[in-house]
Symmetry: C2
Amino acid sequence: MKRRTIKDIAKESGFSLSTVSLVLNNHPRISQATRDRVMAVVKKYNFYPNSAARGLASKSSKTLSVVVPNLTRVFSDIYLGEIISGIYERATSQGYKILLDIATSQFIKTQEYSKLLASRRADGMLFIASDIHADYLSVFEDSPYKFLLVNHVFPGKKLNYVSVDYAASARLAAEHLLGLGHRKIGLIAGTNTFTGLQFRDEFLRVCKTWPAGAAKVAWVDGGEEWSQRGGYAAAAKLVAQMPDLTAIMAANDRMALGAMRWMADNRRAVPEQVSVMGVDDIQLAAFVNPGLSTIRHDLYQVGIESCNRILQLIKGEITECSDLLPTSLVVRGSTGRA
Amino acid sequence: MKRRTIKDIAKESGFSLSTVSLVLNNHPRISQATRDRVMAVVKKYNFYPNSAARGLASKSSKTLSVVVPNLTRVFSDIYLGEIISGIYERATSQGYKILLDIATSQFIKTQEYSKLLASRRADGMLFIASDIHADYLSVFEDSPYKFLLVNHVFPGKKLNYVSVDYAASARLAAEHLLGLGHRKIGLIAGTNTFTGLQFRDEFLRVCKTWPAGAAKVAWVDGGEEWSQRGGYAAAAKLVAQMPDLTAIMAANDRMALGAMRWMADNRRAVPEQVSVMGVDDIQLAAFVNPGLSTIRHDLYQVGIESCNRILQLIKGEITECSDLLPTSLVVRGSTGRA
DNA sequence: ATCATTCGGTAAACCGCTCGACATGGCAAG
DNA sequence: CTTGCCATGTCGAGCGGTTTACCGAATGAT
């Protein structure tokens, strides 16, 4: 079976090559009658234009590169899942395909991130994998390449981003706990991303300057992967460090759940003895007992919005982007009065 | 900043266009001296050849399409995660990129699966999303397109596949339980895939024909998504249906964990009163208490092998493929004598 | 009836790279 | 000193589309 080309369709339908092309691209120049006759042949042969040829001539691959972090269990991360689903949904509806990549050391070392864009394999890149060491991203400052950080920021670098507002989340969380009267708080932070640092710093700041009386905060790092396991270990450390703490704040729900688990394993009642609070509002947060109080981050929306923005950057409708999406407080059973 | 082409590199390095091309493709025809001089210019401009042009001329996109099922939480499925990781690892090492797609109704209706291959956007397709209703896959029987089912089979259709051997798993599981003396068994099956049906049928067959005495098996469907929640509900149904059952076999670990949870919630000791067994050996299986006995499925390996095979199909090294990977019994605390 | 528009379609110049056929120069063998 | 061969480069014909400028016919205004 020979591969058909637009030329074959032209011959068979009796029109010129250009006409077929215009039909396939829904150009208004062509009459309905012609359109129908051409499409009949297209359908008959189940013809689809060669995308490489198309990409070459039109200088667009209609493809988006999505780079995810190199976690041990990347694809089983609910957090990432939400974002990717949002991106996929939007991209597909706009006729774009998704090229998936993992930010392995190999990926970084070979500068695949540049290569993908320079070779025009992708029209733009959505990068969900940034951390504070991702200095190589400087390539994308003032470059002609369409690049966007997803749910990350990079202070000091001119990089586009769409992220939830981690500082705002920190404020909401701090205000909630402080409002409940907590003055001895343990914080499980994530320190390998700038958003994580922003959260920590803002949380500390608010606690320190609370009008009704500053709170004492002890903080520890929850580990590179922000995992439940890391949260569990961190909770132990915090309690050792500040035995009379009345609340634990974790920078994401998974670590908060790990902390709750530690409390259960060590016979501390939540929230009676210790309030526990997370960030993200993953599904599980509502299903544990007691329900986890948290700051809702609509990651699916982050995906949608990121995709919208990168498409606008590609089309040239905007030239830069720094969106911070709002977050909201979700109070469940895991937090109570100090 | 103008986009550079191979022609610019040729001019600047003083060699012909073809020479540059040959250098970039590591053709042995070129001497080391020339190679070095050309590469110097390539590095200088950070040049990467246009992949559309390359694809057009070479008739290969160096891209693999990976289609995943349209589950509500696709990307947070550990099961899929393992497979995708395996595929990614292999594909990348061979210079192939991954184009990700979700088998939404839209994807099916618009025949994207054909379009991707017909338009040469991808050189081959790895399909992880098959179910018993995927009749449209017939397009790929005897077609020139490179297509492979991953951890799925389709009896009656000539489709390539790489899957673990579900029938063998069923045998191992049945033999384990029967060997422990169980004669009243509840089975939580997955009936929306052929591999699921194979597992169920083989399990039933072995139980019915066990030399030391047939076992009675009651089975129910665990739901479309093979989820923990589905397993929980299924366990309830089974116990209602066969109150004296001494073992529950689930077609995957998630459903088994759901069943264990039901047992805990309803005060039945595992394994003293009811043995529970799963399939897959997901990480969590080792961490619950008691540990879940299961049949180990190396899904990462399935990913690796699938990718190997599709690449062989693409290169024409093989023309068809029907691999069944071995599985093994993993005994932990959740199963005991009847 | 004449001329300017509009409408619908076409010719042809690319887009940037691959690869088989062909050219060239140097050297060993006859 | 030819002839024959390697070893290395180069030519140029595609690959399969997109898109702009151009063109003839039909329509409408004067």
